[in-house]
Each structure stands twice: as C-alpha cells, then as structure tokens.
C-alpha cells in the first residue's frame, strides 16, 4: 500500500505536464497546424515562470500564490512564443516541422547564453518549495486522501481542471466545432464563412498557453522549481506529441496515455525502491529508455488506423481550391 501510494503520488505531478502539453498539441493539430515546437514552448514558459519565481520568492507571498502567478506568466510567455509558429505556418505557409525545429533549438541556446552571462550557471535556480504535504480536508479522506491529496503539488488539481475545460471547449462550443472543421477540411470550413487563418491562430495560441503552463509545471513538479538550459524539459514536449497520437487526438484518451507514460517514467526513476525490479539486476538506464521504447511500440500498433486530422501540416491557401 505504501508503495502504491508512493507511485501514484509521484506519477501525477509528472503526468500533468504531459497532459497539458498534449492537450495543447491537440488544439494545434485539430486546427491543422503540426506543432513540433511544443518542447521549445514548454522551456520558454518554464524559463519565464522560474524567472518570476526567482524575483518574488523573498517577497513574503505564499508559495501557492507564487505558483498561480507564475503559471499565468508562463502561459502568457508560451502564447507569445507560439505566435512565431503561427506566423510562419499560417501567414508565410512555411514548412511547419522545420519551423518547429528552429523554435526548439532557439530556446535552450538563449537560456544558456543569458544564464551563463547573468547568473554564471546553466539555468535558473530558485529556492522555494511548492510541495504540499497534506491538503486541507481532501487529504484526510480515507484511502483516496493519501493517494491523491498528500505529498503532492497544486499543479495536479489545476491540470485536471484544464482537462475539463479543454474537453468542453473542443466538443461543446461553437468554437471547438469550427476549430475541428479547419483541421479536417479547411476549404469546406471557409466556404461556410469560417476564417481559417483566425481559427489556426487560435489553435496554435491555445497550444502555446497550455504548453507554457505545462513547462512551468514540469519545472515545479519534476525539477523542484529550477530550469536548466542543458537538460531542458528532457524531451517532454516530444513525449507529449506521442501521448497525443496515442490518445488519438481526443482529450479523454490523452489523459489515459499521459498517465501511462508518466507511470513508466516514475517506475524508471524508482527502480531501487521496488525490490522485485531491483533484484532483476538490469542496468537502470534501460528503464530510463522505457518511455521512449514504449512510444515506438505503441505507435507501431496504433498508426495503421490513425485518426490524425486530415489537413494537418498543409498550409491553407485560399486560392488553391
């Protein structure tokens, strides 16, 4: 029981960044833009969030207030950075994968440059703890309390709130319907008066907001509030893409995929605590490869009946009807 609680408590803070970023990728791809820049957007949001934390950490605000404000800063920075992708993909009709790769490369270099010049380190190091030992009321529920509301972060609850918001936005609003139409058949959407360019900007912006937040939550829940330009977000942006594909571009399945991947990663980093796995004597590095190998395995099984939005990756040109 102790072990199960431990694994759940450690899986959730890892799952939430994956979940949010995969939801972001879903909005972008459902509007028809491949967003491979998620990794860069995450790091951009994490950097500015952590910078904010660094500035205000001694101002006397409670850690949870700082977390919420930092989340807003990270979301806004993510939004701004994603506009670079939207501009290239929508206005300039550029190759979306190349643009995304460029945006991924830019941020670690910029963080390393500025951190080395101004802090003399590889990134931003903060000394504040967002850890919650036990949430009031919720933490005292028998069985469920220790599993979900003890030894955790506020990010977990926020993450699941945004899962709900995203689901409603995508399936229950006019906006969501229009967004999905633009990813499936932009010409048809255009013919009934939907502005495809605006919808694609909206899709990419939403992905920027969610990925920026996800990046900050990664630095909170996985890196103890720090950001490093060297390790970045350790490929979480790319894993989130795999989570999105595994989740078939649907919020309900994405959350399950995110939990699955996060569980594998938690397992990889807690091998020494699980006697059964530890006694097998396999090099721990193999466990660290596990999420990436699992991605390949899962994609090989699911890609034949892929439900990818039909128009994703193709720049929309009004005149090419």
């Amino acid at each position: 029981m102790e072990l199960i609680n431990y694994l759940i408590q450690n899986t959730l803070p890892v799952a939430v960044p994956l979940l949010l970023v995969a939801l972001g990728g879903m909005f972008s791809e459902r509007s028809g833009v491949i967003n491979i820049a998620l990794e860069g957007i995450m790091l951009f949001g994490a950097f500015f969030g952590a910078l904010f934390v660094l500035v205000v950490q001694n101002s006397g605000m409670t850690p949870q207030t700082i977390l919420l404000l930092g989340m807003v800063i990270a979301a806004v920075s993510g939004l701004i950075y994603s506009l670079l992708l939207a501009f290239a993909a929508v206005n300039m009709k550029a190759n979306q994968v190349i643009t995304g790769t460029a945006l991924n490369m830019l941020i670690p270099a910029a963080i390393l440059l500025f951190s080395k010049m101004f802090f003399g380190s590889d990134g931003v190091t903060t000394n504040i703890s967002f850890y919650i030992r036990k949430m009031p009321f919720l933490g005292s529920i028998p069985i469920l309390g220790p599993m979900f509301f003890q030894n955790t972060y506020l990010t977990v609850i926020i993450g699941f709130i945004f899962l709900g918001i995203s689901t409603v936005l995508l399936y229950k609003t006019k906006f969501g319907l229009r967004l999905r139409a633009c990813g499936e058949h932009p010409h048809a959407a255009d013919s009934v008066g939907i502005n495809v360019y605006v919808m694609r900007y909206a899709g990419v912006s939403l992905s920027g907001i969610l990925a920026g937040m996800g990046g900050f939550f990664y630095s909170v829940g996985v890196m103890d509030g720090n950001v490093s330009g060297h390790t970045g977000v350790a490929g979480f942006g790319f894993l989130a893409l795999a989570v999105m594909i595994f989740g078939q571009w649907k919020p309900g399945k994405i959350v399950l995929a995110a939990l699955f991947f996060a569980f594998l990663r938690t397992l990889a980093y807690s091998v020494s605590l699980i006697p059964f796995l530890y006694n097998l004597g396999i090099d721990q590095t193999y466990y660290k490869m596990l999420p990436y190998l699992a991605t390949m395995f899962v994609l090989a099984l699911t890609s034949k009946k892929s439900r990818a939005p039909k128009a994703e990756g193709i720049p929309y040109d009004k005149s090419s009807r």
């Binding site: 491979i36 670079l84 290239a88 300039m92 009709k93 550029a94 190759n95 994968v97 190349i98 643009t99 790769t101 460029a102 945006l103 490369m105 830019l106 670690p108 270099a109 910029a110 390393l112 440059l113 500025f114 080395k116 010049m117 060297h230 390790t231 490929g235 790319f238 893409l241 795999a242 594909i245 090099d283 590095t285 193999y286 660290k288 490869m289 990436y292 190998l293 991605t295 390949m296 994609l299 090989a300 890609s303 034949k304 892929s306």
Partner: protein
C-alpha cells in the same frame, strides 16, 4: 543582346531556381546574423560591436580549424539533405551521429588492428552504427506508416542513453575521473593533413568525396531519379511503378550512414595535444551536430555540393562565436543564430518573392530605367 548569344546571360542566371534559392539562403543568413546582433546588444550593449566583429571575421584567423570542425557538419548536413530530397525529414541525425561515434570508438579501443586498416575499419563501423539507426525509422515509416519525425526523435533519446551507458560501463574506453572517454590509440586516429596551426585531417577530403558520390547517386543513377521523383510527388512515383517502400528504407539507411560517418570523423580526429584524439563526455545530452545539420542542409538547398559550402560557413561563424567569449559573450550565441537561420529558411523563398514583388510594385519604373542605362553602358 550580344551577351545572350554567348550563353552568358545575367537575367537567365538571376531567374534560375538555383539562384533564387541562393538569394533565399543569403537572406536567411543575413536575418540570422542581424538577430544575433540584436541579442548581443540586449545582453551586453557596450561589447556588442566588438563581439559581432569576432563572429564575422574571427574565423579568418583559424581557417584550418574551420575545416576541422566543418567535417562532421558536412556529413550530418548530407544526412539531412539526402533524406530531404525524398521528402523525408531526418531529425534523427543526432542519434545516428551518436551511434556512429560509439561504433567507431568501440572498434578504435577494442579491436587490435594495425596500420591504416584501423581507422578505415573504425569509419566503416561508424557508418554501420548510423545505418542501423537510420534503418529503424525507415522500416517504421515504410511498413508501419509511423511518421519518421517522431521515430527519429525517440531514437535520439534511446541512442543517447544507450551510448552513454555502454561507454560508462566500459573501463577501457571511459576515464571516470575525467568523466570523459580516453584518448584513442594512434592507429585508429585519422591521419592529419599537416596544415600548420591546425589538426585538419583526411576526414575533410573524405567528406568532400562522399558529397560528390552522393551527387552522382542523385543525378546519374536510377535510384537517385526515383528518389527525387518520390520527393516531388509520392503518388505519381508509386503510380509509375517505383518501389516506394524499398526506397524509403534505403534512403534512410544511406542518410543514417552519412550521419554515422560524421560521428566517426568527429571522434577519430586528432586533437591539439600531440598523440591525443577528441574525447566524448557522456552526460545524457543529445548531440547538437544533427540539428546543426538541418541548418547546413537548408542553407545548401539540400544539394550535396552546396552542403560543403554551407557547412564551412556554419563552422566559420562557430569558430568566430567561440572567440566572442573574449569580450564576455558565450559561444551559444551561434546556436541562436543557427536557429534563426533555420526559422527563416523555412519560408525564405516565399519571403523573397513577396519582397521582390513589393519592390517591383513600388520602384518598378525606376528599376526599369536603371537597367536600360546599365544596358547602354554595357553596349559601349
């Protein structure tokens, strides 16, 4: 008019496809450098100009080193560019490069060969290592319809963890007190060309020869023709009876092999200290050479011969970038410049035509007058 008969026609050159991609590359480079300069102005205004001067002209002092560091970049550029010609985006050149590096290092340390056979076999081993990691995304793409971008990104991580683990667990290769690999035995190092003040090795010559070989494959063989045709229109190529699946796997294998050779060239090269080789530090970071290869390939228009020049250029500004630390900057400034160059390369062609159109709309009449005057002068 006379010019046209001679076959040397400025207009025909400026309107050709090659020229417009050349101006597009220049445009991307200009914007990249300008952005880098702005970043330097923000970071440290007083030293920005002297720092920028190092980037622009610092490489001139170390021409040998420019080619020394350009060697692996030519190979990763060729890897990305070759796959590009078929419409495949090989973002996994980093993983293939790392695998090539590991295979080469393994043969270098663990196999007892003497004479030139040692380094030749090491390079071939590097190629095999890269080919394996190119083969996997190729098979996933061809047989299982998994996007090669995702596969190669995942294998960048898998390869990085795998290689770092294998090196750290092998005391013959790894010097744990230095957290680096040991120096390779001299027989497995590439012979130096003996240029004064630099260690530029036979690798650069081999890289250029390989570029020419790829050029011949692309332009003079049936396989190259099929490959390009598939790149232009996948469905038409399939309809014409070309074996798309086989070609995808073959292309990715050749591409991976090139990146693997790049890794071998990088690690087998002799370094500044006499008798020593380059070393590798296994710190769980994905090699940047593969991503720089994307910039190299885009700037070279995915043309094997263009890639030789673009790799030299990128290496040139990288040498200058390391010198900027003399005035308080960090070499990462060049990574920023490279990223911006890639960003603008993605739509430089479109930007180019729209700017041209804008200029013609605005200054069209003036330009025409000028060209008439120029023509008049030419006749005189």
């Amino acid at each position: 008019m006379v010019e046209r008969k001679d076959g040397f026609n400025l207009k025909a050159i400026t309107k050709s496809k090659g020229f417009s991609s050349f101006t597009a590359a220049l445009m991307a480079i200009f914007l990249g450098l300008a952005f880098g300069f702005i970043i330097m102005l923000i970071a440290n205004p007083s030293n920005a100009i002297s720092g920028f001067r190092y980037i622009m002209f610092g490489g001139l002092r170390r021409i040998g080193d420019v080619f020394y560091f350009a060697t692996p970049l030519i190979m990763t550029g060729l890897a990305v560019g070759f796959a590009f010609r078929m419409g495949l985006f090989n973002i996994g050149a980093s993983g293939q490069y790392t695998m090539g590096l590991f295979f080469a290092i393994y043969v270098g340390f663990m196999w007892n060969l003497s004479g030139p056979a040692h380094w030749i076999v090491s390079i071939i081993a590097g190629m095999v290592g890269g080919m394996i990691f190119g083969f996997i995304p190729g098979v996933f793409k061809a047989l299982l319809n998994v996007n090669e971008v995702i596969t190669s990104i995942m294998f960048n991580y898998i390869g990085m963890y795998f290689v770092d683990m294998k090196i750290q667990n092998n005391a013959a290769m790894y010097n744990s007190s230095m957290t680096r690999t040991r120096y390779l035995p001299e027989s497995s190092q590439l012979p130096s060309l003996g240029v004064a003040g630099s260690n530029v090795s036979i690798g650069i010559i081999l890289a250029i020869l390989l570029a020419i070989a790829l050029y011949i494959v692309l332009e003079k063989t049936t396989f190259g023709y099929e490959l390009k045709a598939t790149g232009f229109n996948k469905f038409a190529a399939e309809y014409a009876g070309m074996k798309g699946k086989r070609n995808i796997i073959l292309t990715m294998m050749i591409s991976g092999g090139m990146a693997g050779i790049g890794g071998a060239f990088a690690i087998l090269a002799p370094s500044e200290i006499a008798g020593s080789s380059m070393t590798y530090e296994p710190i769980n970071i994905i090699a940047t050479a593969g991503f720089t290869g994307i910039a190299v390939s885009l700037l070279g228009n995915s043309h094997p011969l263009g890639i030789i020049f673009s790799a030299s250029f990128i290496s040139y500004i990288q040498r200058g970038g390391t010198l900027t630390s003399l005035v308080g900057f960090k070499p990462e400034i060049i990574d920023i410049v490279i990223a911006v160059i890639i960003y603008f390369s993605a739509f430089a062609m479109i930007m180019n035509t729209s700017i041209k159109k804008f200029l013609i709309d605005k200054f069209g009449k003036k330009k025409k007058n000028k060209s008439i005057i120029n023509n008049g002068e030419g006749v005189e």
